[in-house]
Symmetry: C2
Subunit: 292 residues, 2 copies
């Protein structure tokens, strides 16, 4: 969980982000008008020991660094233009390079630039800036959910925690959910013109739903049994609170026919609290997911 | 100096940067065509213990992080649009925030977004992506110097090393050169339409001149006594090899009347070696400056 000092620091940063394109630092991305285009920009970091397990293959780490940033573009319906890499140097650059190459080729995104510096003896620290072109106007935000909308999730969650636990126990994971997630770029672009709000699920369905609700100043009433699982039923509570699944969480008017399959998991209602989980009011995000 | 493995790693990265906007990772910036505009993007990192001294005021570190990135935009004649900050959290966020605010206000650039994560017990690692709008087409590169051009430096070097040595010795620095450099944004924009090649001097005049020469496939013949100094004459050799002065190094045809004051320090000649220093041929960049 984020320490209180970290949360107050982020609030202070928001005061410096008064440009409308910054979206109040509440939307994973910035949106800039450049001529007649809208540029979507995101930056996510990963730090050794925090975002990946010691000893993990750096090829998977490089893949994930690209994927999590492209997932933020996906949630805005943006088409990736390129990425800029900042990294402190690691002992295993060959594996890193191999995974980076895999990811860039798979998602057809070029490396545009960056910076490479010594880690100064500390853990490896990675940052990626991803740039994309908006595919529709307005670019979906977290703040547009309206009472009467339906809340959807693009697919099941839980695969990442199950795989993470296997890897931590020294076993082979069932799939690629934790190590090599896939950003839902095509789905995001198809959905973007129809949604009222959209974000990717990186920190847990419940916590991210809480954030979408507070940004939109609405209540999201979620039937937790309706959240599709890619984990055993007895792990439902964990799967709802664990991140790294990179599904799209979005709201759309009830009459809209969706262009991609998605599970309705709740409804949008007026006012407070941010969440109604099976009818129970949740005001405090503490315990809902992974805050960082 | 960069280890051979680091240099070969950067060569391998270049193979992934085949997009023309990446400029072969040889130009500090990427240049993207967005609609009818050209977007200039740069990303520089700073790591505790490598780029700043332990115990330095984090307000100065934040300022410098902004300034060094804006200096890369300045060297391309770009007008800053905004910055994206990636940082691992420090013990002194209040000072960092204060310096960040100072720099953003001074240079009139908004914070657009970013990511804040735990440092995992390691040194603080900072990355900034700066975005700018090109003010002229083509955007100056390092590779356009032509035989017959004059090589110029926008102002004196050496203030940063003198200030650095004072700070390291526990004394007050003479000025702000090391702690709070100023990117030459107005000068870069004025010069951009007239230069054949331009870059900022971040790693030492001689090393950066060597890079400009190799990118342009020309010889830069430099009269080292003509390089203006902001340090005692007996420190000339160090001042030529130390970075952090953030002057602009550029070439322009001999007949061009420059819109800003600059010192002619050499001439552009055909062929090899990259550098002729007072008539001595220099093929190898080793020992010319700070490689990282």
């Amino acid at each position: 969980m984020a320490a209180p000092s970290e949360l107050s620091y982020i609030s202070a940063l928001r005061a410096l982000a008064s440009h409308p394109g910054a979206r109040g630092l509440q939307d994973d991305v910035a949106v800039l008008e450049i001529g007649d285009q809208q540029l979507v920009i995101t930056h996510d970091m990963m730090v050794e020991g925090i975002h990946w397990l010691p000893g993990q293959d750096m090829a998977d780490v490089a893949w994930k660094l690209v994927a999590v940033n492209l997932s933020d573009l996906a949630a805005k319906g943006a088409k990736p233009i390129g990425v800029i890499l900042g990294q402190t140097l690691d002992r295993d650059q060959d594996r890193f390079l191999s995974g980076l190459e895999d990811a860039l080729r798979t998602f057809d995104v070029p490396l545009l630039g960056g910076d490479t510096v010594s880690a100064g003896g500390g853990p490896v620290s990675l940052g990626l800036t991803a740039l994309g072109k908006a595919s529709c106007d307005p670019v979906p935000s977290r703040s547009g959910a309206r009472p009467g909308d339906i809340l959807y999730l693009s697919g099941p969650v839980g695969a990442a925690i199950i795989d993470f636990e296997a890897i931590k126990a020294g076993e082979a994971p069932l799939g690629s959910a934790f190590l090599r997630p896939h950003p839902l770029l095509a789905e995001g672009q198809a959905l973007a013109p129809m949604v009222t709000a959209m974000m990717d699920v990186s920190d847990g369905v419940l916590l991210d739903a809480w954030r979408l609700a507070t940004a939109s100043a609405v209540t999201l009433s979620i039937a937790t049994d309706d959240v599709p699982l890619a984990a055993p039923e007895d792990r439902r509570e964990d799967a709802l609170r664990w991140g790294d699944d990179y599904q799209l969480l979005f709201t759309a008017p009830a009459h809209v026919e969706l262009p991609v399959k998605a599970a309705p998991i709740g409804t949008v209602e007026e006012g407070e609290p941010p969440l109604l989980l099976d009818g129970v009011a949740i005001f405090d995000p503490e315990g809902l997911g992974y805050q960082h």
